[in-house]
Amino acid sequence: MINIQGVNYRYRNAADNALESISLEVQPGKILGLLGPNGAGKTTLISLLSGNLKLQSGSILVDGTDLQNLHKNNPAAVCLAPQDFAFYPSLTVGENLTFFARISPKGEGRRTAEAQIEFALDFCQLSHVLKQPACSLSGGLQRRLNLAITLLASPNYLLLDEPTVGVDPQTRAFILESVKALSQSGLGVVYTSHYMEEVEAIADQLAIIDGGKLLRYGDKSALLESRSSLCLKLVNLSEEESRAKLAEFGNVEVAPADDCVSLEIDLLTTVTVGQVLAAVEGAGGRICEVSYGRPKLESLFLGLTHRSLRD
């Protein structure tokens, strides 16, 4: 298990912390969906876990071993698949895999370099392009190569930084299935993405950070299924009036719609739907459409991080 406790990080010359008192866990065989708007601190956290940044305060233990020591003794335990295509474009797929297999540290029970390459090729279905230069591959194949290289070190934990950016739906489905399969085989996965439906589909746990702070962390089901979301479309009330009248019932997200106001209220557990509807009518509003149920991850995310654009 990766145990992150009270981690703070501040970049040189920065006024604020990029990470502030972050505490969470990544469990073997589970996928942690790490979510946050741009600049929230996701990349900083990933960089700390991958050893590209040095821990300033707090602690990170990987299966009981301090991360700093781990990177010296068994760096293969936690491996990063960067968002960019982190390989050598002029080398062929085979040459890239051979190179990274050779420099990958030898962890316990690790297969030979050849066996690792074979496994990665099979797992990411790249055997047919073995001799092609990496730069000549399609975006989807390059994503698969990126993942394959990460698997060469036989890691215990995978850090996947937006692994599906710019790929077609088929490749996305393939990558998501692969990540699930890896998790089921016992790997702990940290998965960052801006695609909420992806994270909702594969994550076991969620961590939502913004402004360097951990806003929500826990099992996906606990975070989503324990909450109720009421969606309304109203006329006769402005956005400001709607927000003001309904704020007492929970977090209100207002979106403009044609001829009406569209609202999604993340209801407090003590509030009933009837109370909200009564309040709307009392304010003179008329309900055109209503739906009720478990909130979508995107609603939860926007509810926590708000709609305002980020730097």
Partner: protein
Amino acid sequence: MLLALILKELHVLRRDLYGLAAIFLLPAAFIIIMSLALQDVYRPKLNTLKWVLIDNDRTDFSLRLAKHWQDFQQEPEAKVEDWRSQLATGQLDYAIIIERGTQEYLDNLVTANDTSGGIKFIGEPGLDFAVFQALTSQLRGLWLEHAIKSSNLELPTIVRQNIDIVDDFGAADENANDRGQGASELMDRLNTMVEGQRLGGAVNPSAVQHNVPAWLIFGMFFVVTSITGLLVEERSHGTFARLRSLGLSSGVILLGKLIPFVVVNLFQAAIMLAIGRYLLPLLGGEALVIDDVHWLALCTMLFSISFAATSLALWIATLVTSQTQAAAIGPAVNVLLAALGGIMVPSFVMPDVMQSIAGLSPMNWALEGLLDILIRKASFVEVAFEVGKLTLFGVLCLVLAQLALRKKYS
């Protein structure tokens, strides 16, 4: 629309400080360096050369001659005991030796047939050919002037004899030819009393002997461009981060680039030397003379140049952040170091200040070292100082590169 495009481009340029530096500052620096370096090229300052006087005659004549020579040159160096070794290493540019018996020879110029005495001009092996010729001619002219004054023959007498020959041309003066021949022989004898040579009988270095090392160094330092581009690509694509996440330290990654590029650089040097030695003669040029060099010295020097160039490249690569910067700054640094270091303009034609600045360029250390080996046939020990400077420079660049990476990833 066009205006919008133009304005956009200007905005982009305004915000690219490295790009602006490449466009404005570097050419400005280049113009300043080259103008200062070349300001004396058409009036080379021969009087700045270091020389010694070995006066074995110690007569009034020799003292007068030496004093007159000093009117054109700077004071001779006081330390004359080891003048040969100083010449061999290029610490001295030339020596003038007035042999014993020179005045006596002049006193009996007309009658004496012996060739005792005389003056020797001995240049250091690497002395520029034009400078060598100019100084030898200057010394010969001075010698003739003093010799004629000191000898029993007055200059007008010699001239008169020649004029007589011209006057009598076609006339049946049987003595005219004899008189003319006598004067001509006299002049020949006086001329041969001044002998110009290089230390150890070294041949005059040709342009090839100077140019091949200079452009070899320039070419070796061009590794800056390729390494900078490659490292920037690795960093911007996340490959560098991936390598670090696999437990590779920045130092190991730098070393992984240093070693192959040093090897490639050495191959490049070998090919360029082979071109100078074998291809240039086939194309009608002079061959680079490398047969009698100290090979240990040459190999060590080439290795240290390669190490310095590659390390510099790695340091620059850690500082720049984009391919555009890499493409602009790598070659610019190379050209500036070459301009400063005497690659584009030989440093001996530069003014004193520029020569001092040239001494700060690693290309200058490399050039001095290679010229010592190729022209002065220096041994390993004799170029150890240049090798040491280049190696230290390389180590310093590597440390700075490592620190820059550590700062970036701390």
